[in-house]
């Protein structure tokens, strides 16, 4: 620690405050941090008080202005936890409801999707589409999405996939193996508009979003096979949707 002679007066005051509060061991930089905080806080309060006093058309800033300034700032920055009686009250309310029963065999137990962080947080921009005139409409779009590397499209296996008029599904959840649509249907039921049976393997360029926490791939491994089949049933392209989304 610097010798008292060379330490500025403010810092000496701060060291004395720390000593009075019983804090004996601290990094030397703590004093600088405390001083910075003090300057900033006092400046803010005094500036606020000046504003209040001019608003009240007073010539000088007086103690009432300062008091008001402190009061207003306290609610903003130095919030303290709620008082005990309030906590006891809400606790009583919350503790009256019985514990909810646990449904068996529900897979990963997570809150409803809107409270989870498992939704995709990106949009894909569809670049080009090629429409084949043969059976069905097969498209092999190419993508360029920022940092995501697009792999060459895996060969389509078996029968060509079929377009479906995908419904606009509200919930932006559970990314399945979709590649280039923005809104991805969460439930497979929603996307079954077309009557054609879906092939389980429709391959296209796949994106591997790094931040995806796909609900379907999750937790209990015995769900995986079920999920991947459900993935595939929803692998339908929705050109109409893409156009709509591009226009957004």
């Amino acid at each position: 620690m610097a010798s008292p002679k060379t330490v500025p007066k403010d810092a000496q005051v701060m060291m004395q405050i720390l000593k009075d509060m019983g804090i004996t061991e601290y990094d030397p930089r703590v004093i600088n941090q405390m001083l910075e905080f003090t300057y900033r806080y006092v400046t803010t309060i005094i500036e606020d008080a000046k504003i209040y006093s001019t608003h009240a058309k007073k010539s000088n800033v007086d103690a009432d202005d300062i008091r008001l300034a402190i009061q207003c700032r306290v609610d903003q920055s130095f919030t303290s936890p709620p008082p005990r009686d309030f906590l006891l009250d809400i606790a009583r309310q919350k503790n009256q409801t019985p514990l909810p029963l646990i449904k068996p065999y529900t897979g990963p137990r997570l809150p409803p999707d809107r409270y989870c962080l498992t939704a995709p947080n990106y949009r894909l921009k569809f670049l080009q589409k090629k429409v084949s005139s043969s059976v069905g409409r097969i498209t092999v779009p190419r993508l360029s999405v920022g940092a995501v590397s697009s792999r060459p499209s895996t060969p389509t296996l078996g029968t060509p996939s079929v377009q479906t008029v995908g419904t606009k599904v509200g919930t932006p959840v559970s990314l399945t193996g979709q590649r280039f649509t923005v809104q991805i249907p969460s439930s497979q039921a929603a996307s079954v508009k077309s009557a054609t049976p879906t092939t389980p393997t429709v391959q296209n360029v796949l994106i591997n979003p790094s931040l995806m926490g796909s609900k379907n791939i999750l937790i209990t491994t015995n769900m995986v096979s079920q999920n991947s089949s459900s993935d595939s049933t929803s692998l339908k392209r929705k050109h109409e949707d893409e156009d709509d989304y591009d226009a957004l």
Binding site: D20, M21, G22, V74, F78, T79, S80, P81, P82, P83, R84, D85, L87, L88, D89, I90, A91, K94, N95, T97, L99, P100, L101, I102, P104, Y105, T106, P108, R109, L110, P111, P112, Y115, C116, L117, T118, T154, T176, G177, Q203, L206, I207, N208, L211, M212, G213, S214, N216, I217, L218, I219, T220, T221, N222, V224, S225, S228, S229, D231, S232
Partner: protein, 739 residues
């Protein structure tokens, strides 16, 4: 008594009107307390043993003044007429009244005290003013007139001090308990009524006399010199509104009462009546050491009836596991030696009897998740490992393997191991959570959805194929929090990791994909600790907002809120049967809560500093707690008694763990040591007779030295976490501290 009895209706009516008026007038008053009273005795209040007529007059006058102050002129008229009071009688009180009046007012906002004058041990603490009897009325109503003359506070206190020093030795220790709460309350009264200089003088004169373990509180107090300072300080406000509990034997109490009534020391008497709860017990007065071991908490000790609720501390029955797969059956047969034709294999660790343990909770007392196949496999692994467990004891100490975090410039703040010791998680001050694999097996995350499509789903090793080999690594970093991570906890099935942080959220991470799944927002203040239930699904978190919350992974809001602590909740742990939660707090108490209805079933006092670690014994009967004062205290949960005190550490104890069979307790502290204690011996020596069971006053043998089995120093690495593997190897973790 005539004057008052004439108008009991009226008086009651005034009193009933008072709560509504109060709650309208001062907006910050809470609804459930009826009167805001700051301090106690006015100069004008009659002495407790004085003439009844005088007392009643004073009461009426006080009521009149109160009504006048609230501008209820009609009520004033009516009361004056009925009670037959003249103008002149109020004159003498007016000056005092106005003096003390302004002191209250808005200041009484958060200080809404319900004045409870119940001194007997059976008294119920909650009572509305309307039901009070005569002495209480004077106390309540006279709060609005001037309280004790500031210079006289010192005189009162010195008087009490002299008295206590002059009593018999056996009573002195007990009555000395009064010093600290009286001192604090008198000081706060002086500050509240803006007598700054007197407050300072009072503090300087008497603060040195207080017990050493209250020094931290006194530091905080001496920084409060003005009324405004008190407003933001929640802990102190709670101190003012809750009653400081003292256990005093009947003889000592009689002595005290007689003295105070003789000396007309109303000031002290009124403070005692208002702010202290004296739990009287019949029997021998306690010795200083007994008192010292139990005191130290912010609210005194715990009332005896609080610790009388029945606690189901037994363990839940282990389920019988039917072994569905053939290979497991083969292995099982080898170790169990049972014939293969048996369909079910009974858990070798479970109780053989079909009878319910009377101390164990019902299986369905709280809903628990069912066992999945993967859980059953885990259990079988567990049983296999436990057969290879080393039996520990005083002659057979565990080996300790210390995991040192080198170059942890990020600041290691929390560590956790999985139960099978395969994964290690560290929470850091730079808001990241890192997961390491302790075994040679690397960490793998599940492949992305596209890749999952191409794998063959019907193959036998599909569970390996879904894992991504390309990004396998020894450790993974999880980003997401926006503040230092203060608590981490693995789920028992190793699928999830919880982390709690200073940003007020608890995050659930998946260990299959190493991404964040949910952020549970509830505490708006730093969350100091979190812990998963031993059966998964539930978890508990505790933070700066002085409550602990029980969550389930599939509810975005907490299921239970455990409110009651006076200061931050720093440590939360589940009981092995998942029916109870223990919380340790900065108010130096440990509370045990029932998950079913969030009742506080035990309050355990005795620590002299904030509690930072808790550990339940594997049989569920005992709890160990460690705090900043360097002591480990052992508690019997069933009786709610302190049964052991382990002294030795010189710094905060952040890690406590019982060995797998409960024979050894390991404690790790900031003084860079791990100490092993003989818990078997500590628990055996508990002797409870009727007296100790009723009063909770146990005489602890000072046997810390005998119980200490070993002390191991690390090279300047404070111990953050301890964990016994399934085979009773002790793992420790900490960050190397180069200073």
């Amino acid at each position: 008594m005539a004057a008052v009895q004439d108008g009991p209706m009226e008086l009651d009516a005034e009193k009933e009107a008072k709560p509504e008026i109060l709650s309208d007038g001062t907006s910050n008053l809470s609804g459930n307390t009826a009167s805001g009273t700051l301090s106690s005795s006015p100069l004008t209040a009659a002495p407790a043993g004085g003439a009844p007529k005088m007392e009643d007059q004073q009461t009426l006058i006080a009521v009149l003044q109160f009504l006048k102050r609230n501008k209820l002129s009609e009520s004033v008229e009516i009361l004056r007429r009925e009670a037959g009071l003249g103008e002149h009688q109020e004159g003498s009180q007016a000056t005092d009244g106005s003096g003390g009046g302004k002191g209250d007012g808005d200041g009484g906002d958060a200080n809404s005290l319900l004045s409870r004058v119940s001194i007997t041990s059976a008294a119920a603490p909650q009572s509305m003013p309307v039901k009070k009897d005569q002495p209480d009325v004077s106390v309540v109503l006279s709060a609005y007139s001037q309280q004790g003359d500031p210079p006289l506070y010192q005189v009162y206190y010195s008087g009490l001090k002299n008295f206590i020093e002059s009593v018999l030795d056996c009573h002195r220790a007990e009555l000395s308990q009064l010093f600290y709460p009286l001192f604090v309350h008198m000081y706060l009264e002086l500050v509240y009524n803006n007598h700054e200089t007197e407050a300072k003088a009072f503090f300087d004169k008497f603060s040195g006399d207080q017990e050493c373990y209250y020094q931290d509180d006194l530091h905080i107090l001496c920084g409060l010199t003005k009324k405004e300072h008190l407003k933001g300080n929640e802990v102190l406000l709670d101190f003012r509104t809750s009653r400081f509990v003292l256990h005093i034997s009947r003889d000592s109490y009689q002595l005290l009462k007689r003295h105070l009534q003789e000396r007309h020391n109303n000031q002290i008497w009124n403070i005692i009546q208002e702010h202290l709860y004296i739990d009287i017990f019949d029997g021998m007065p306690r010795s200083k050491s007994q008192i010292d071991s139990m005191s130290g908490s912010l609210a005194g000790e715990a009332k005896r009836e609080v610790n009388k609720a029945k606690v189901f501390y037994g363990l839940l029955k282990e389920p019988e596991i039917e072994v569905p797969l053939d290979d497991e059956d083969d292995e099982a047969e080898n170790e169990e030696g049972k014939p293969k034709k048996k369909k079910t294999k009974k858990d070798s660790l479970g109780s053989k009897s079909k009878k319910q343990d009377p101390n164990a909770p019902q299986q369905n007392r709280i809903p628990l998740p069912e066992l999945k196949d993967s859980d059953k496999l885990d259990k079988i692994m567990y049983m296999k490992e436990s057969t290879k467990r080393i039996r520990l004891g005083p002659e057979n100490l565990p080996s300790i393997c210390f995991y040192t975090f080198l170059n942890a410039f990020q600041g290691l703040t929390a560590v956790d191991f999985t139960d099978d010791s395969s994964l290690l998680a560290g929470g850091f001050a730079d808001s990241t959570v890192r997961v390491w694999s302790v075994t040679p097996k690397k960490l793998r995350k599940v492949k992305s959805a596209g890749e999952l499509n191409v794998i063959e789903k019907e193959s036998d090793d599909v569970l390996e194929r879904i894992m991504d080999e390309k990004t396998a690594s020894e450790s993974k970093i999880l980003h997401g929090h926006s503040g230092p991570v203060y608590g981490v906890s693995f789920s028992p099935d190793r699928n999830y990791l919880l982390s709690s942080s200073e940003d007020g959220t608890v995050r659930l991470w998946s260990l299959q994909t190493f991404t964040c799944l949910v952020g549970y927002k509830g505490h708006n203040y730093p969350v100091w600790d979190t812990h998963f239930s031993p059966f998964g699904y539930y978890f508990v978190s505790g933070g700066h907002d002085r409550v602990a919350r029980l969550w389930a992974t599939d509810h975005y809001q907490p299921l239970r809120i455990f409110a009651g602590h006076l200061a931050d909740v720093t440590c939360t742990r589940f009981h092995p049967n998942s029916n109870y939660v223990a919380t340790g707090s900065t108010d130096r108490t440990v509370r045990l809560w029932d998950v079913l209805n969030a009742n506080c079933v035990r309050i355990l006092t005795g620590h002299k500093g904030p509690i930072h670690s808790l550990a339940f014994s594997p049989n569920g009967k005992f709890l160990a707690s460690g705090s900043t004062d360097g002591r480990v205290l052992l508690w019997d949960i069933g009786h709610g008694l302190m049964i052991g005190e382990l002294k030795g550490h010189t710094d905060t104890i952040y890690a406590l763990k019982f060995s797998r069979d409960g024979e050894i307790l390991a404690s790790g502290s900031m003084d860079n040591t791990v100490r092993l204690w003989d818990s078997m011996k500590a628990f055996d020596e508990v002797e409870t007779d009727d007296f100790t069971a009723t009063t909770g006053h146990i005489h602890l043998p000072d046997n810390s030295q005998e119980l200490l089995l070993g002390m191991y120093h690390s090279k300047s690495t404070p111990v953050t976490h301890l964990h016994f593997t399934r085979r009773n190897l002790l793992l420790a973790a900490g960050a190397y501290n180069s200073q």
